[in-house]
Symmetry: C2
Subunit: 357 residues, 2 copies
């Protein structure tokens, strides 16, 4: 099944869900409709990466390729949860755009202005985005429970889903902590710290856990689950390292984000940790002073990119991506997964790791 | 069973849960422990109102008074969800304290300062409080699912719980919208709008739905559920109106909040809506200009309290509280609930409505 079919099946499921929510919301009154529409708007677009890994895990565990209602419901729940996480993320990171549209807190700020309401529109946007994210989390649970109702593998799937939520939330906390704690953490621990964040908030959340969720729903045996974890975690690590590279060196025309976005946002990634460890004292002081400065000029960004590149950190990260990819490949070839499943997993991994946006 | 026993049973459940979470969190590393401790700290104290209504609903539906693991798990889930809601609420309302301790975003801000981390401590506190609330929501779901696993009434209980989450989140959104939308909404709709917010975010969430959840877990029949809804909703409305009165006229020494806190926060309550509708044009302009001004002096607060009192709005709200209480009493006496259940519900309602803090 081409990836676009997975995206279509999930989108169809989301459309039905949203229509039902809006139908049942008249008692909340017209102002609530504005919010519900804003929440629904966050569900459009995206790569549907998690739903695609979920489908691949399902297939690997012997689920029929055309899927089931429960599978698409689970995939849709993952995508709604991801939208919730992005709403809170964009708020925390002060990101203005998402998937080519205004970030939710910015959209809500505009809603305030357009309605001619009184008070501080920006503050309203930020406050209501907290609640919008909360509502999306509630919706994702609603979709999950609808999918799992009376399902024979509900307990095992629910447990993995719960684990995923804890892991990604703690991972996000550790991520924002790095922006503060770098100055006090020993320099030789920074790479390990960055990789730990990558493990929780990306490798598990974006790849390993969606794979395992789909497989759990199909009633996977322990060997299949172990093979999917052995494949998924390194793919997820490579996926995040690719993200780190794109965050500093990505082409704005392709990523849709400003050049060097991670530098302005102050992301303490593995790439930055490696570069920092190789810089002279003077250059390290320059990097430390600049990173996280939202007002960096294009010239300053270019200079920082060059500083990082000159350390060889980019080559090192590309090597790490290759190593993780090789680990994932070893997990596949050493497994008893079917040839079809292996082909599909390989293709998805390649799309996640070799991407340019 | 005295209310303190319900609180003790829920607290014991929470202690076990937190210990298990902390035990299982070593892989997250030491920085995560700081967050998990901060999350656990939000679970202490409070009136345990929702757990108590949950227990009362359970009793009314014939559940044994000493409860079951599932009941205490459900009660604990409600209390953890409430902690999550308060963390996000306090963030949105810029409240500095909660239950006599620093609000979560303030506690996290202090954590940043105490650790000697770099960057803006206040901004870190606000960002990490978004995630802290998210983590608490995940924990509340974990507790709920542990309670409902293989429970015969899981489906019905889960459905009501999901409804509760949507209602309170939309209710909160409508609440913050009122602070912005009052200026453009027709004056004669403001009371109805305030009562609608009270219905979703308080009457349902704090009273009706906890009652129905406890009863659902006990396998209540439709007549019992209808009686509990008929009782719970007006009690919850009276509970919120009492809150509105305390928010303007409460004694700081008893409420633990500054005098006239709702005026500074700009809460558009039923009390304020009624007063506003009765003011002269000049006094209404005074009220509109002052409400929501966090910098109101004690003298200005006293003057506003007098302005509201002189309209007779306070007497009107007290009448409404009496009317709602009478409706609740009628629902009880017209029901087939047992005498013991009725006594307990009456006692809880009285505590919720007649309180001074």
């Amino acid at each position: 099944m081409p990836s676009s079919h997975v995206a279509d099946a999930v989108a169809a499921r989301l459309d039905v869900f949203i229509a039902r929510i809006l139908d049942g919301s008249t008692e909340y009154g017209p102002d609530a409709t504005l919010f519900l529409d804003a929440a629904a708007a966050t569900l459009h677009g995206g790569k549907r990466l998690r739903a695609r890994f979920c489908h691949a895990g399902w297939l690997a565990a012997g689920g029929p390729e055309h899927g089931t209602d429960a599978l698409w419901g689970l995939g849709a729940a993952l995508e709604v949860f991801q939208s919730a996480a992005l709403v809170h993320d964009d708020l925390i990171d002060n990101s203005d755009t998402r998937r080519g549209r205004p970030a939710a807190h910015r959209a809500l700020e505009s809603l305030h202005r357009d309605a001619g309401w009184q008070g501080d529109a920006e503050s309203f946007g930020r406050s209501s985005a907290v609640l919008l994210g909360d509502l999306l989390v509630a919706w994702s649970d609603d979709m999950l429970e609808a999918a799992l109702a009376e399902h024979p593998h509900a307990a095992m799937t629910r447990e993995e889903y719960a684990r995923m939520r804890r892991d990604v939330t703690v991972g996000q906390m550790l991520d924002i902590t790095e922006e503060s704690a770098w100055s006090t953490a020993p320099a030789d621990t920074l790479l390990d710290r960055a990789l730990r964040v990558a493990s929780f908030k990306s490798a598990r959340y974006s790849v390993e856990q969606p794979l395992v969720l789909g497989a759990s729903l199909a009633g996977a045996d322990p060997a299949t689950l172990a093979a999917l974890r052995g494949f998924g975690h390194p793919v997820g690590m490579a996926f995040q390292l690719r993200d780190d590279v794109l965050g500093v060196f990505g082409d704005p025309a392709v990523t849709g984000k400003p050049a060097g976005d991670d530098l302005r946002e102050g992301k303490r990634t593995a790439l930055i940790a490696i570069a920092r460890g190789r810089l002279s004292d003077a250059d390290r002081a320059t990097l430390d002073a600049a990173i996280g400065d939202a007002g960096l000029s294009p010239t300053e960004v270019t200079a920082l990119q060059q500083l990082v590149r000159d350390t060889g950190a980019l080559e090192r990260v590309e090597e790490m991506i290759d190593d993780y990819s090789a680990q994932a490949e070893t997990a596949l070839t050493g497994s008893a997964l079917s040839g079809t499943a292996i082909d599909q997993l390989r293709e998805l991994a390649s799309a996640a790791v070799a991407r340019r946006a």
